[in-house]
Symmetry: C2
Subunit: 272 residues, 2 copies
């Protein structure tokens, strides 16, 4: 197949979007399109300018023999605001109010395009950090973890509160739920991480932070390092919060079950 420039641009865009945070050698494109490296470089500068103009990320070029190009997905501040506003408006519907001051989030976590945008926002926030693994706790954190992971090109590991045969041997710890004060157990498959890996923790909802403390303790058992914490909704909590260094998109600042009111604000993502 002889590729025209226009066809190369379409296919390159597709390829780069499907392989974020991956170094693609110029020779890969040169061979795929049977074209000179100089033509490929010109193609890439068109792609780069367009990506940057529409605010969807940057293309970083590395020159030299082992050089190539790497697509770093980014979300503009404007787009981030837009997604947060959409979340706040959806979450403010009073029929989301659940006993105990929780919010019904399950339907939002099931929307793939919204999850994709949320994942891209967090991946954009942590784009310059070195992250090897994303960790979350079953069940509701999983769609967020996978959405972030896809844009950072790293694997997901899932901590469970039960320990099934399908996980093989596990490491388990006890932790205290910050909201209820009860002791709970979480377990992670032994094969899921190697010592020294840098781990981003994520979850859909954080109240007192007990689950996050549990995951931090699991990191120690695996001799891994904390790279950051990303939560979709943080909720104000009367007693001391157990976690202070995290990024959130939305803050639930007040719930009145009697009056059926929900107060929501932007999270702390723009404070960074």
């Amino acid at each position: 197949m002889k590729w025209k420039r226009s066809e190369r641009l379409v296919d390159m865009t597709r390829y780069l979007i499907e392989h974020p945070h991956t170094l693609v050698p110029l020779t890969y494109f040169a061979e795929r399109y049977n074209a000179a490296k100089s033509s490929i470089s010109e193609d890439l500068s068109i792609v780069k300018e367009t990506f940057e103009a529409v605010g969807m990320g940057s293309l970083v070029t590395l020159s030299g023999a082992s050089g190539g190009v790497r697509f770093i997905p980014k979300v503009s501040e404007e787009k981030t605001h837009e997604v947060i506003e959409q979340l706040i408006s959806e979450l403010g519907q009073t029929d989301r109010l659940l006993p105990g001051g929780y919010l019904f989030l399950t339907d939002l976590l099931g929307k793939p395009q919204l999850m994709n945008q949320i994942g891209k926002i967090f991946a954009s926030h942590f784009a310059e950090q070195s992250i090897d693994v994303i960790m979350t706790v079953a069940t509701k954190g999983i769609p967020i973890a996978h959405a972030i992971a896809r844009h950072l090109n790293v694997p997901v590991v899932i901590v469970r509160q039960d320990s099934k045969v399908t996980e093989g041997s596990t490491v388990s710890i006890n932790y205290v739920s910050g909201s209820t004060g009860r002791i709970q157990t979480m377990a992670l498959s032994k094969r899921s991480m190697k010592s020294g890996q840098r781990v981003l923790l994520t979850d859909d909802f954080m109240k007192a932070g007990g689950t996050m403390v549990g995951m931090k303790n699991l990191l120690k058992e695996f001799e891994c390092e904390l790279a950051g914490i990303a939560v979709l909704v943080e909720a104000d909590h009367p007693s001391q919060t157990l976690i202070d260094d995290y990024v959130s998109l939305v803050r639930l600042s007040g719930v009145d079950e009697q009056r059926q009111t929900i107060e929501l604000q932007q999270g702390n993502i723009f404070n960074y």
Copy 2:
């Protein structure tokens, strides 16, 4: 911003990939790029030819006042074979063998690029069906369900074996696990589906099919219809299988725990 054709092609490709199975009016592109509809049509035919040449899907054009273009992701047979071969080679490692004839799959389910490809294969298989919702059971089916959902642009609902406060009111049923014969419970949030919706069921592993039967019974409770069943790995089972109409990528035809051997074949996806 004045867009050149090359920039329009890059941005259109990006937009279409992010909005599969969505009718995009030509006027959307015409306004976004401040260009004549005739130029947009020419751009789209370049995109269409390239998508079809590389086997990544088709662009369906609807003419008329309410017309537009719809991107239908497809995976070529060759690429599907490649992914299945990769799966078989990874799954054949004997250290995946778990007690009871299960295979350790958790690491594969945590790889976002592999999940993306698997999701695209199933989305491609069911592209012509009318599907409103993807249903899976927590925990391990979730990454697959979301990967399919993203490429079909439909929501995911997650059935759970526990019933948490964060789910709101739930509908729960009892079912018999096909492998163990034990009675188990599954619950789904009441708000998750409307009657009449067509539902694709998915899971990572299917042995006797008890979980699938449970999900089918839940569909009845919600007055929803079964649109199809997609499983990553089906395992041969001595007694009668409870489910016959499903699509699988890999078939686990034999496990010898004593000799530490695993026999794997291609699933039934090419029989359709």
